[in-house]
């Protein structure tokens, strides 16, 4: 049984619908707009924090060093940028897109009866699926990119690696790398984009498009295949459960796992699980089978919710 579709009386049409905005215009405009606002706004915030700390504007030639020495401020600016532009910004846009302006129900902030079990399943799915994600990363690494772009990504990688393996508190890193994106990126992608695309294009198109947009948003084209796959999986879980919470947990676990492993098993994360090598085939097979079974359980539980059945 499919999740319930939303149908609304004319008086419950969203502001965008009442004013004749095509869905694709809203989606493209907010995707590009939020990306630009977040990149620019987040960078300005990070730079402002660095200026406050060092007491002067850093020279352009010294900018790279300044960033490396103040990674905590860079990520703090990034997190505040996510809160402002992805969080508050998406809330405003969702208000205009939601029927009757009801943001909560439109974006999936509701907890079905068995939400606890669904959250645990989502947690397990995103742990067990890691070998598949690693495999997709290896596939992506086979695509040739121009050398100037590879140098750009190497610089980004080294910033992230320094942040993960630096001497900062694990909690600080966890909050900035896992918790903040799990809330605000999910609100934007699975809350706003998935639901507005679902209304006009159906769930399949919504899941695929929102997943690809999620992958592209990270501006890491050497990782776009695994990121888009994760985005689609998060979208599928959000659609099936009619709730954004499993996707938030899944995102948190996916990002948090790399933080925990980088802190306590760095050689495993930085040497063994790179995309230069494929994971062992048996790991991929087991990952696919176990993840498949867990997703089957997730779907069954969600369907039971929809039917109002509490036990099988």
């Amino acid at each position: 049984m499919e999740p319930s579709s939303q149908s609304f009386a004319p008086s419950k049409r969203s502001w965008f619908e009442r004013n004749g905005f095509p869905t694709w215009v809203v989606v493209v405009a907010w995707f590009l707009g939020s990306l630009a606002l977040f990149q620019i706004g987040g960078s300005i915030l990070s730079l402002a924090f660095i200026v406050i700390r060092v007491g002067h504007m850093p020279d352009l030639s010294d900018m790279n060093n300044m960033l490396k020495q103040n990674l905590d401020l860079v990520f703090l600016g990034n997190s505040i940028g996510q809160f402002i532009f992805l969080g508050i910004g998406s809330w405003f846009i969702s208000k205009l897109a939601a029927p009757g302006g009801k943001v909560g129900s439109f974006t999936g902030f509701k907890a079905p009866k068995n939400i606890g079990f669904l959250l645990i399943l989502a947690l397990l799915i995103f742990i067990v699926i890691q070998p598949v994600v690693w495999f997709l990363g290896w596939i992506n690494s086979l695509i040739p990119f121009p050398s100037f772009y590879m140098n750009f990504e190497k610089a980004q990688d080294s910033i992230l690696k320094d942040f993960l393996s630096g001497n900062m508190s694990v909690w600080f890193v966890l909050i900035n790398v896992a918790l903040v994106p799990a809330i605000f990126e999910e609100f934007m992608y699975r809350g706003f984009f998935l639901n507005i695309l679902k209304k006009s294009g159906g769930p399949t198109l919504a899941i695929i498009l929102s997943g690809i947009m999620f992958g592209a948003y990270h501006i890491r084209f050497t990782q776009i295949i695994p990121l888009s796959f994760l985005g689609m999986l998060l979208g599928y879980l959000a659609w099936r459960s009619e709730s954004i919470y499993p996707a938030m947990i899944g995102h948190f676990v996916n990002n948090g796992l790399s933080v925990i492993l980088a802190a306590f098993a760095p050689s495993f994360v930085f040497s063994k699980t790179t995309t230069d090598n494929m994971p062992p085939l048996i790991w991929i097979v087991l990952s696919v089978l176990v993840t498949g079974y867990l997703i089957y359980l997730f779907v069954t539980e969600s369907q039971n919710n929809a039917k109002g059945v509490s036990d099988v």
């Binding site: 079990f117 645990i120 399943l121 742990i127 925990i260 062992p280 790991w283 087991l286 359980l297 099988v312």
Partner: protein, 167 residues
Amino acid sequence: MPSITRVLHQRESGLDLIWAYLGILGVTTGVFIIALGPGLFGGTPASWYTSWQRVAFAPLCDQIPSHSFSINGVQMAVCSRCTGIYGALWFGTMIFPLIASKFLPSLAFRRRMLVASMVIIIIDVLGCLAGLWTDTNISRLITGLSLGFSIAWIVAGNLFVATKRSI
């Protein structure tokens, strides 16, 4: 695609079901015996690394000596957690028909048991990695047993619920 239990149920006799059960029991028994390692077959510590049992499980298990039990002084082919998993898979499958007629939890309960055992293992691994506690071979064995039993009771349980028969 119909599930294997429905396909079996459609046949007139329960013989096919019994063969399926015996097949699963055979596989789990075989896997467990191999997991016990070369010590069971007269192997020596010197020959452990090149033994076919170790090689078979090498992609699946870290095979750390301090995390593994031994038989006849020879390290098993898998760690204590995997020993628990494979052992419980075998034992759980074997004893299931004996108790299913008296006590068969619902499928929902058995699924929750499986999920809970997976969560316990993950908490155990991450907690140990973070230095919150230290695992022992016994604690790893117990977490492995819980996962193995959960899997066995779902697989075997599905077979027996299909025909409501017990041996």
